[in-house]
C-alpha cells in the first residue's frame, strides 16, 4: 500500500503542527499541515487523508476554555466531514490542546454511538499552574491503535488545563469498557494515585489519555512528538554515560515515535 497520508491541522494558535508533521514523516507517512480554513472553504479535503491530527497549542488562546472554541468551530463547520472521516475507519489523534478539542467536541470517549456529545472534560490543573515536566505513563487499552506494543513510556506534559474530569458513571464506563489508554504512574510503575507531580494535574484515576470504542480516535495530554530523539529525554545524558561506560552504542530514536509508527502501520 502507498504511504498513508496524515493531515496535521494548523491555524488559530495551534502550535505543535511542525513537529507533529515531522513525527508522522519519520514514521513513514506523507504528512501535510493544513489550515482549518482550507478545509472549510474547500481548498483541501479530509477525504484525501487517512490520519487526522489535532496538534497541541493554544487554539484561540484558551479563551473561554481550552479547546472549546476550536471544538465549536470544527463541529459547526466541519462536523459532518470529521464524523464521516472517523466512521470510514480512519485514525484521529488529538495531543494536548488537540485532546481538549476532541473531548469538548465529544469525539473521545464517545461511549455511545450517534452524534458525539461531550461527556469528559479537561480542565485546570490542581496546581493552578501551567506545568512543563516529564511524566511516566502506563499504556493500558489493548484496543487503541496508537499504543499497540507500548507498556511504559516517558513523555513530557506542558499544559495548564490537563485534568481529566467526568461524572462517576462515565469514569467507571471508561474503565470497564477499556477506554483508558494512558495513565500517569510513579517512575517505578506503581500507581500515581493522584500524587503530584507524578500525576501532574490531578486527573481522575490518573487518566492521561483516552480513546473511543473503536480504538481509532485517541486523545492524550502528554506530547509524544516531543520525544522523537534520544536526546529529548531529560535523563539522556545519564543514559548515555551508563551506555558509554559499558561500551554500548547510543540509540537514536525516542520512544514517542512508536505512537506515530503504530498509526502508519495500521494502514500497511
Amino acid at each position: 500500500m502507498a504511504k498513508p497520508r496524515a493531515l496535521v491541522l494548523t491555524g488559530y494558535g495551534i502550535n505543535c503542527d511542525r513537529e507533529t508533521q515531522f513525527a508522522f514523516e519519520l514514521a513513514g507517512a506523507g504528512a501535510v499541515r493544513v489550515h482549518v480554513n482550507d478545509l472549510i472553504d474547500g481548498h483541501d479535503s479530509m477525504s484525501a487523508y487517512q490520519i487526522l491530527a489535532f496538534p497541541g497549542g493554544f487554539s484561540f488562546g484558551d479563551d473561554i476554555a481550552s479547546g472549546k472554541v476550536l471544538a465549536s468551530k470544527v463541529r459547526a463547520r466541519l462536523g459532518d466531514e470529521v464524523e464521516r472521516f472517523v466512521d470510514a475507519g480512519n485514525l484521529v489523534i488529538g495531543i494536548c490542546n488537540g485532546f481538549q478539542v476532541l473531548a469538548k467536541y465529544g469525539l473521545v470517549p464517545r461511549l455511545d454511538p450517534g452524534r458525539p456529545a461531550q461527556t469528559v472534560t479537561v480542565t485546570f490543573n490542581d496546581s493552578g499552574r501551567f506545568e512543563d515536566r516529564w511524566v511516566s505513563l502506563r499504556a493500558e487499552s489493548s484496543r487503541c491503535v496508537f499504543t499497540a506494543g507500548i507498556e511504559r513510556i516517558d513523555l513530557p506534559v506542558a499544559h495548564g488545563e490537563g485534568k481529566v474530569v467526568a461524572a462517576e458513571d462515565v469514569v467507571s464506563r471508561l474503565e470497564k469498557e477499556g477506554s483508558v489508554v494512558l495513565r500517569y504512574v510513579m517512575p517505578d510503575g506503581s500507581a500515581a494515585g493522584g500524587r503530584f507531580p507524578h500525576n501532574p494535574n490531578g486527573a481522575m484515576h490518573d487518566i492521561a489519555g483516552i480513546c473511543d470504542p473503536s480504538g481509532r480516535v485517541f486523545g492524550l495530554m502528554p506530547h509524544p512528538e516531543r520525544f522523537l530523539s534520544f536526546t529529548n529525554h531529560p535523563h539522556w545524558t545519564r543514559r548515555r554515560d551508563a551506555l558509554v561506560r559499558k561500551g554500548q552504542r547510543l540509540p537514536e530514536a525516542g520512544d514517542g515515535r512508536a505512537i506515530f509508527e503504530n498509526a502508519v502501520a495500521y494502514f500497511r
Binding site: 494558535g13 476554555a65 512543563d132 474530569v165 522523537l228
Partner: protein, 967 residues
C-alpha cells in the same frame, strides 16, 4: 482577614441584540463547561455570598477573551457582529466572609490593576436591591477626530522645552490647557526642527512633529550611544560595531555573520541550508506600571524582530531575564505621588506579573522558553528590568535569493497586517526615553495578544515561501510612522493614506493613527503583481490586512488624510536631520580594598546559606511554567539531574529536527561588578556568557554575542563614564575572543522619580546593567554535557586558576546581611584574561566533543562552592576534596578559595578510565584534580590548613537551594 470561600464567575457581556434562546444556546454550547460549570443569563441574583467584586477592563484595553467570544458566538449562532457590537469579558468574585466594606475594598485592590481595569464592590444587600451586578460597559466612545494642528516653534526655549516635556497643546476632551504627553526631544533637536521649517517657510503639523519625535527618540536612534562622547565618535560605532568589524576581518572565511546591525535582528550562519537570527530587547517602563501587560507585550513584541528580519524567520526559542527588587521586601514602598497615595507595585507583584506575562506570551505563541535568568537588587524597585529575546530560523535562500536581503521597490504597495490601531500604545518610544514619574501616560501600557500575532506570523511565513512580498519590517516603537518611514529608505519614499489604516474604533486623531504602537502588526512592501494573492492569503488565514499606501522614490514621506497632506517630510531630514549630540564623561576609580571579617568557623553552613540566596537559588518555579520543549528540539534543558531540579549554565536546542547540529545559548549579567568598575563588569559578562555555552558543548570559536545596556541617568557625566568603560571592555573582550556582536539594544534612563515614605522626593536608579547573550554552534548535540555528577569514583577537576578576586561577589553580598543589595564598592574584581582563557575554552570544547567529560559546571556567581554544590546536588552524589588542590594562587583562606569569582574556570568530573586522555588533551591549560565523587550524601572538603572546612549534607544544601523561591 476571614474569607470562608471565594467563587468566581466568568461574565460575558454581549453588546448586541440576541434572543434569549440564542443567549442560552451560546451559554450552553460555548461558554460553560457542561461538567464543571453552571451558567445563568444575567441578572445574577443568587444567595450564598457576602460580597461581590466584579473586575473588568477599562475602555480600550485589549480584551482577548471578549474578542474571541465575539467571533465564536457569531460562528455558533450564525450571526454577524457589526464593528461597534462587542463582547466584554469580566470576572465576578463572590466572597463569603465577615468583612467590612474597607476590607472588601482591600480585597478588591488585590484583584485588579487600576491602570487597565475597573472594579465594583457590592455587598449582598446592594446586589439584591439593584437586582444584580453590572459593570459599566467598556465601550470606547470618542468624538470624531480628524483634526490636524500646526505647531508654532517660533517661541522661546522655555516654551520649546515645555513642548518637549508635556507635549503639543491639546484641548481635546475639554481639557483646557491640556497637552498630549512628552515628545522627549532635546533643545538642540527642537532647534534643528525649527530651523528646518523656517527654511521651508511653514509650521510643522502635529503629525510631522510627533513623527520626528518618534524617529529621533532615544529608543529609535540611540542618541546617547551614537553621541560624540569625549574623544569617542559614538560608543556604538567605535566599540560595538567596531568590534564586529574587526572580528569579521580576523575570521575571514570562518566569519559567521550574515547580516549584522542592519536589520531587526542579527543573522548568523547555522549550516549551509539555514541561518539563525537573534534579538534581545527590554520592556522596562511598561512592566513597572502593568507587569503582566508590559511583559507579554515585550515578549510578543521581540518575536516580531526575527519575523521582520530579512524576509522573516520562524520563531524557535525565547529567552527572558528579569532584574527585580527583593520579593520579600517588607518596608514602606516609595510612592509615585507627593501625597503618598499611589505606592509603586510591590516587587513580588512585579515578579509574578512579569513572570506570567512571559509565560502567556511564549507558551501561547508555541515558542519554547528554555533560557533565562533573574537577578535581585533593591535598586530595581522603581524600574524593574525585563529582558526578552527571540531566536529565529530562516532558510539561507528563498526562491534562489539570500533570505536576509529585502527591499521595498517604488510602486510597491504599503500593506499593514495583523491588529488594528487603538489609542493604546501612544508615545511608547518617547516614553522609554524618559524616567517614570507621576504623569506617565497609562496609554503607553498595552496587553499583547499572542494569538493574533501567531495567526499573522503563520500567514507571513506562507506568504514568504510563496514570494508574495518584497520587504517586511515589524511595527514596534513608533508604530507605522517608524516601520513605513524605515522601509521608505529602501525605495526612496512613500505615500500613506491614514484613512486606510484599520482602527479598533473611531475617534482616533490622525497623529495617533500614525504613531500608535498598537501591537501585533507587521508592515509589508507588496508588488502590484502579487498584491491580490497576498491579500487573498491573509483573508483565508483570517488575518486583517490593508493597503495603506505606496512606496515611491520621491525622497519624501507623504501622509494624507481625506485628500489633504498632513505630513510631507524629506526622508533625509526625517532620518538624518537630528543634530549630533556631544557629551562629556567623568570616571572615579574605586579603591580596591577588601572588607575585613573573620573566616567563618563552619564553611559548610555558609555554603548552605549561599545556595539559598536570591541570586543563587533554584528558579524551578519559573522554569516549569514556561514551556521549554515545544518544537521538540530540546537537548540540554534549563534543569538537570536525577531529580531534574538543578540549573545548567546554558541550554542547547536543535532548531532543525533533521540535523544533529544544535545551538547553545547562555548569558552573562553581573550588575554588582559595575559598582566597582563597569569595565570589569562588561568583560566578566562576556566571559561568563561564553563560558556558559562552552560548559554545555558549544564551540568557543563559533560564538556570537548580543549586548543589552540598561543604564540610568545617562545625562550625568559619571554614568556616562561608566557607560564608556563598559563599551571599551566590550570591544577589547569581544575582539580578544573573536566573538562578534551581532545585535544589541540600549535603554538609558532606567530611573524612578517619586517620593519616599517621609514625603521627600526620591530617585531610584538601576545599577548600570549589561546583559550579554551568547549563541554558539554545537557540531553534534549527542556530545553535549550538563551539570550532574554521574558516578562515584569519578575524578573532580578544577579547570582554570582561582585568584583573590571577590569584589562584587555573592559572598561579599552575603556579608551585607541583606537579601538583595550590592556588596558595594569594595574588593578586587575578577579580571578576564582572554589570552589565557580562550585556550582553556578550546581545550574544554575538545574534551567535551570527544566524550571525555562526565559533567561540567561553569564557575560563576558563588564561585567553586556553588559549582561543586550544583554538580553534587544534581547527581545526588557526594564529593570528597581538598581546597588546597583547587589551583588557587596567592590565597590562604579557605572561604576566599571557595567563593572567589575568578573567571575562566570550570568544575568537571571525569571517569577514571578517561582521566589520562582528559589530562593529555588539557596538558597546556591549568587543571587540578581536587577530589572525587563519592557514593555518600555529603560534600567533604579539606581547607587550606588541612582541616575539614566543608562538611555538608546534600539534603541540607538542596533544601536551602529550593526553598527561597519555592512558591
Amino acid at each position: 482577614i476571614g474569607l470562608a470561600a471565594v467563587h468566581t464567575v466568568e461574565v460575558y457581556t454581549v453588546d448586541r441584540e440576541l434572543t434569549r434562546a440564542q443567549l442560552e444556546r451560546a451559554a450552553r454550547e460555548l461558554l460553560a463547561d457542561p461538567l464543571t460549570q453552571d451558567w445563568v443569563i444575567a441578572p445574577y441574583v443568587r444567595e450564598g455570598f457576602d460580597w461581590a467584586i466584579e473586575v473588568g477592563f477599562l475602555p480600550g484595553v485589549t480584551d482577548n477573551v471578549g474578542n474571541t467570544t465575539r467571533v465564536a458566538m457569531g460562528e455558533l449562532l450564525g450571526v454577524t457582529f457589526e464593528a461597534a457590537e462587542k463582547v466584554y469579558s469580566s470576572r465576578l468574585f463572590l466572597v463569603e466572609g465577615k468583612l467590612g466594606r474597607e476590607q472588601a475594598k482591600a480585597v478588591a485592590g488585590l484583584l485588579y490593576n487600576p491602570l487597565i481595569q475597573k472594579a465594583r464592590v457590592m455587598d449582598r444587600d446592594e446586589v439584591m436591591r439593584e437586582g444584580g451586578i453590572e459593570l459599566p460597559l467598556a465601550r470606547v466612545i470618542l468624538p470624531p477626530s480628524d483634526r490636524v494642528d500646526e505647531v508654532d516653534l517660533e517661541v522661546d526655549d522655555d516654551a520649546l522645552m515645555l513642548l518637549s516635556r508635556e507635549g503639543i497643546p491639546d484641548d481635546a476632551g475639554g481639557r483646557a490647557g491640556g497637552r498630549r504627553g512628552p515628545l522627549a526631544l532635546s533643545l538642540p533637536q527642537l532647534h534643528a526642527i525649527r530651523d528646518h521649517y523656517r527654511e521651508k517657510g511653514r509650521r510643522p503639523t502635529d503629525v510631522e512633529l510627533e513623527s520626528l519625535a518618534q524617529t529621533w527618540s532615544e529608543h529609535c536612534k540611540h542618541t546617547i550611544f551614537a553621541a560624540q562622547l569625549d574623544e569617542v565618535d559614538s560608543l556604538y560605532k567605535t566599540y560595538i560595531k567596531g568590534a564586529t568589524a574587526r572580528v569579521r576581518k580576523m575570521k575571514g572565511s570562518a566569519d559567521p555573520c550574515v547580516s549584522v546591525f542592519s536589520d531587526n535582528a542579527g543573522v548568523v550562519r547555522f549550516d549551509g541550508r539555514w541561518n539563525l537570527c537573534y534579538k534581545v530587547e527590554t520592556h522596562n517602563s511598561p512592566s513597572a506600571l502593568d507587569p503582566y501587560g508590559g511583559a507579554v507585550t515585550g515578549i510578543v513584541g521581540v518575536n516580531r524582530d526575527p519575523l521582520g528580519t530579512g524576509k522573516g524567520a520562524l520563531l524557535t526559542a525565547n529567552m527572558y531575564g528579569f532584574c527585580f527588587a527583593d520579593p520579600f521586601y517588607d518596608e514602606p514602598l516609595p510612592t509615585r505621588d507627593a501625597a503618598g497615595k499611589v505606592p509603586i507595585l510591590h516587587p513580588k507583584v512585579v515578579f509574578e506579573g512579569v513572570r506570567k506575562g512571559v509565560e502567556d506570551g511564549g507558551n501561547k505563541s508555541g515558542i519554547p522558553t528554555p533560557l533565562g535568568f533573574i537577578v535581585f537588587d533593591d535598586r530595581y524597585m522603581g524600574k524593574p528590568l525585563v529582558f526578552v529575546g527571540t531566536l529565529g530560523l530562516m532558510p539561507a535562500r528563498l526562491g534562489g535569493q539570500p533570505s536576509h536581503q529585502k527591499a521595498a521597490r517604488p510602486g510597491d504597495f504599503v500593506v499593514v497586517a495583523g491588529g488594528s490601531v487603538g489609542k493604546d500604545g501612544i508615545h511608547g518610544a518617547t516614553f522609554s526615553s524618559e524616567s517614570l514619574h507621576e504623569g506617565s501616560p497609562a496609554g503607553a501600557v498595552q496587553i499583547g495578544d499572542p494569538i493574533t500575532q501567531k495567526k499573522l506570523g503563520d500567514a507571513q511565513l506562507e506568504a514568504r515561501d510563496l514570494g508574495l512580498y518584497s520587504s517586511v519590517t515589524d511595527c514596534g516603537a513608533g508604530g507605522i510612522s517608524c516601520s513605513v518611514g524605515e522601509m521608505a529608505r529602501e525605495s526612496g519614499g512613500c505615500e500613506v493614506d491614514l484613512g486606510q489604516v484599520p482602527v479598533k474604533y473611531s475617534g482616533i486623531a490622525p497623529y495617533e493613527i500614525w504613531i500608535s504602537e498598537s501591537q501585533e502588526r507587521m508592515t509589508y512592501a507588496v508588488a502590484p503583481g502579487t498584491l491580490d494573492e497576498f491579500l487573498d492569503l491573509m483573508r483565508r488565514r483570517d488575518v486583517k490586512a490593508a493597503v495603506i499606501g505606496r512606496f515611491t522614490d520621491s525622497g519624501r514621506c507623504v501622509v494624507r488624510l481625506a485628500g489633504r497632506d498632513v505630513m510631507d517630510l524629506d526622508l533625509d531630514f526625517l532620518h538624518d536631520g537630528l543634530p549630533a549630540l556631544r557629551l562629556e564623561s567623568t570616571w572615579t576609580p574605586a579603591v580596591p580594598v577588601d572588607p575585613e571579617f573573620p573566616e567563618p568557623a563552619d564553611l559548610g553552613a555558609t555554603l548552605v546559606e549561599m545556595m539559598g540566596r536570591l541570586d543563587m537559588c533554584s528558579r524551578e518555579y519559573v522554569v516549569r511554567q514556561y514551556d521549554h520543549e515545544v518544537q521538540a528540539g530540546s537537548v540540554i534543558k534549563p534543569l538537570s539531574g536525577v531529580e531534574l531540579d538543578v540549573h545548567n549554565d546554558g541550554v542547547v536546542v536543535r532548531p532543525v529536527l533533521d540535523s544533529l547540529s544544535g545551538v547553545a545559548l547562555s548569558v552573562g549579567i553581573l550588575p554588582w561588578y559595575g559598582d566597582i568598575d563597569t569595565y570589569g563588569m562588561a568583560a566578566a559578562c562576556i566571559d561568563t556568557a561564553i563560558r556558559g555555552v562552552v560548559a554545555v558543548g558549544g564551540d568557543p570559536d563559533q560564538v556570537s554575542l548580543l549586548d543589552n545596556f540598561c543604564w540610568s541617568s545617562s545625562d550625568e557625566p559619571e554614568r556616562l563614564g561608566q557607560l564608556k568603560r563598559a563599551a571599551m571592555a566590550c570591544f577589547d573582550t569581544a575582539v580578544a575572543y573573536a566573538a562578534p556582536f551581532i545585535s544589541g539594544k540600549d535603554s538609558m534612563f532606567n530611573d524612578f522619580k517619586g517620593y519616599g515614605p517621609d514625603g521627600r522626593p526620591v530617585k531610584i536608579s538601576v545599577p548600570p546593567t549589561l546583559l550579554v547573550s551568547s549563541i554558539a554552534m554545537v557540531p553534534d548535540v549527542r556530545a553535549c554535557v550538563d551539570v550532574q555528577a554521574m558516578m562515584p569514583g569519578d575524578l573532580v577537576y578544577v579547570v582554570g586558576t582561582t585568584r583573590d578576586e571577590l569584589g562584587g561577589s555573592e559572598y561579599y553580598g552575603l556579608r551585607t546581611g541583606k537579601r538583595a543589595s550590592s556588596p558595594g564598592r569594595v574588593g578586587v574584581l575578577p579580571t578576564v584574561h582572554p589570552e589565557a582563557f580562550l585556550p582553556i575554552y578550546r581545550a574544554m570544547h575538545r574534551v567535551i566533543a570527544r566524550g571525555l567529560v562526565a559533567s561540567c559546571a561553569s564557575v560563576s556567581c558563588g564561585g567553586l562552592g556553588a559549582a561543586i554544590a550544583r554538580t553534587a546536588m544534581a547527581g545526588m552524589l557526594g564529593m570528597v576534596g581538598d581546597l588546597a588542590r583547587a589551583g588557587a594562587e596567592d590565597l590562604s583562606r579557605s572561604d576566599r578559595v571557595l567563593f572567589s569569582e575568578s573567571q575562566g574556570r570550570f568544575v568537571v568530573t571525569v571517569d577514571p578510565a578517561r582521566a589520562a586522555a582528559f589530562e593529555t588533551e588539557m596538558h597546556s591549560v591549568p587543571i587540578r584534580q581536587m577530589g572525587e565523587i563519592s557514593d555518600g550524601d555529603r560534600i567533604l572538603l579539606r581547607g587550606m590548613d588541612g582541616k575539614m572546612a566543608v562538611d555538608v549534607d546534600l539534603a541540607d544544601l538542596k533544601r536551602s537551594y529550593k526553598r527561597t523561591l519555592g512558591w
